[in-house]
Amino acid sequence: MSHTPQLPPVAKLEQKTIVDMISRGKRIDERSPESYRPIQIQVGLIEKANGSAQVHLGKSKILVGVKVQTGEPFPDTPDEGVLTVNVELVPLASPSFEPGPPSEQAIELARVVDRGIRESKAIDVKSLVIQKGKKVQVVYVDVYVLDHDGNLIDASAMASLAALVNAKVSKMELKGDEVVAKPGHHSLPVNNYPIAVTFAKVDKTILVDPSLEEEQVMSARLTVTIDKNGSICAMQKGGLSGFSVEELKKAVGLAVQKAAENRAKVLAVAKG
C-alpha cells in the first residue's frame, strides 16, 4: 500500500532562499530555470556486462549494466524477447536510502525508465526470439544509483539508453535442443532513443532538471519522455501537488527541445 511519505521537515529557510532567487530569475546554483546541470557520459566501464554506461548529472551518479541472457518468453507474448528494467537505490548514494527490497521510489523510477524504452520501441523485442514460445533473449537493464543529488529519472534514462546502445551481444541459434552462440558480436537492435526530461514545480515556477535541494522543496514533479521523432512516449506526474494545463503545455514544449539536446550528447558518446 502506498501512503503519504514521512517527509523530512521542510527546510523553511532554504526554501525561502530558493524561492527568492527564482523570483529574480536565477536558481540557487546560478542556472536558469530551463537549463540542465553538466552531463558527463562514459560507456563500457563494466567488461563483464554486455553493455554499460555511467552518467554524471551534476553531482548525481548513475551506473547502468546491461546483461543479455537466454530465457523463456512470457506466455502471452511468445514471439517477443523480454526486457526488464530494475533500479537499486544503493545505500551508499544517500543518507536516506536504506538497504532492503526496492522501495516504491525505486520501483517508480524503474518503471518510468522502462516505459520510455518500451513505448518508444527502442528495443526490437521481436528480433530477440530464438525459438518462438520457448527460447528468447532476455535483456536486463540494471540501474545502480551511486550518488543521489536529484533528478535520478533523467540520469537513469540517459544511462540506460547509453548502455543499451553500447551493448554487444552474440546472436543465438538453436542446435538440436541446445541454444548456442554464433561467433562474433553484434549491437543490440536499438531503433529509438527515448530521453526523459523532468521538471519540478517550486513555488510558481517550473524548473527543469531539479537538484536534490530543489526536489526537497518542490510541490510537484513531471517527467516527459520524448522519442527520436519528437513524440511523447511516456509521462509521469509525481509529488503531493499538481500542474495547471498551461504549465503542462509549456513543459512538453520545453521537453522536446531539451530531449533533442540531451539525445545528441548521449549518442555522441554511446555510438563512439
Binding site: L45, K48, K59, K67, E88, P99, D142, Y144, H148
Partner: protein, 255 residues
C-alpha cells in the same frame, strides 16, 4: 556474457600465471579516495578486474533504535554485488554468501575503529561490488577501511587485505577469478599492520600446515604493500588540492 572456459594450465613452463604474473605478484591496484558526494567517506578500488565502491555514513543516529549500544558505536556493514558484476546476472536480493561476507568484513574492521568515542550511535559501511574478479572480499576490506578513514572516523589503523591460494600445487598470491575457481585452496587474510593482528581469516580447499604457514607469510607481506598504497591514496586527495592551489599562488608571485 559467456563464462570463460577452464584454462588448460594455470601456470606455464616459465612459472608464470595466466595473466602473466609471478606466483608472488599482486594484480595491478588502483585506489581513489573521496569520490562520492553524499557519503561521509568513500573509496574506490580496482584490483585486477575487481571494481569496488565503499562508502561510510556516520557516526549517525542508531536506526532502528534498539540496535544502539550504551557504551560504543554499532557498526553495520553490507557487502553487496551489483547484478551485472558477475558473468551470470545475479539477483539483487542478498544471498547467503553476501550475508556471511558482510559479517566477516565488519569483524575485520571492528578492532581498529575507536567505537567507544561514540556511544549509542551507528556507523554504516557499504561495499558495492560493481565488477567481481576473485578476491572481492579482500579488495572490499581494503576499500572499506579507506572509506572509514576518509569519513574522519577515529581509528587505530588502516586495515589491508589480500588472499593467498594454491594453484597446481603451488602457493600463489592474490588469486584471480579463474585461479580461484580451478585452484586448490583460497586463504583470504586481513592485517592490522602496526600491531600485526590478523582480523580476517577464512580458508577453503586443502593446505598442509606448512603451506598455511608460508601462505600466511606471503599474505602478510602483500597486505603491508597494499597498506602503503592505501596511505598514499588517502593523502593524495589532500596533496592534490594543496599542490594545485599553492603552485598557482607561487607562479602568480613570480609573474
Amino acid at each position: 556474457m559467456p563464462e570463460p572456459k577452464q584454462p588448460e594450465k594455470l601456470i606455464d613452463e616459465k612459472g608464470l600465471r595466466i595473466d602473466g604474473r609471478r606466483l608472488d605478484q599482486l594484480r595491478p591496484i588502483k585506489l581513489e579516495v573521496g569520490i562520492l558526494d553524499k557519503a561521509d567517506g568513500s573509496a574506490y578500488i580496482e584490483q585486477g578486474k575487481n571494481k569496488i565502491l565503499a562508502a561510510v555514513y556516520g557516526p549517525r543516529e542508531a536506526h532502528p533504535k534498539h540496535i544502539a549500544l550504551p557504551e560504543r558505536a554499532v557498526i553495520r556493514c553490507r557487502y553487496h554485488m551489483a547484478p551485472f558484476s558477475v558473468d551470470e546476472r545475479k539477483s539483487p536480493a542478498p544471498s547467503r554468501r553476501e550475508m556471511e561476507l558482510s559479517k566477516v568484513i565488519r569483524e575485520s574492521l571492528e578492532p581498529v575503529v575507536l567505537t567507544e568515542l561514540y556511544p549509542r550511535t551507528m556507523i554504516d559501511l557499504f561495499v558495492e561490488i560493481l565488477q567481481s574478479d576473485g578476491g572481492s572480499r579482500c579488495a572490499g576490506i581494503t576499500a572499506a577501511s579507506l572509506a572509514l578513514a576518509d569519513a574522519g572516523i577515529p581509528m587505530r589503523e588502516i586495515v589491508a587485505a589480500c588472499a593467498v591460494g594454491k594453484i597446481e600445487g603451488k602457493l600463489a598470491l592474490d588469486l584471480s577469478d579463474a585461479e580461484d575457481k580451478y585452484g586448490e585452496a583460497d586463504l583470504p587474510v586481513a592485517l592490522v599492520p602496526n600491531s600485526s593482528m590478523i582480523t580476517l581469516l577464512q580458508m577453503d580447499g586443502s593446505l598442509t600446515p606448512s603451506e598455511f604457514e608460508r601462505g600466511l607469510g606471503m599474505a602478510v607481506e602483500a597486505c603491508k604493500a597494499i597498506h602503503s598504497m592505501q596511505r598514499e591514496a588517502l593523502k593524495k586527495k589532500y596533496h592534490e588540492i594543496k599542490e594545485v592551489v599553492e603552485e598557482k599562488e607561487e607562479s602568480e608571485v613570480i609573474a
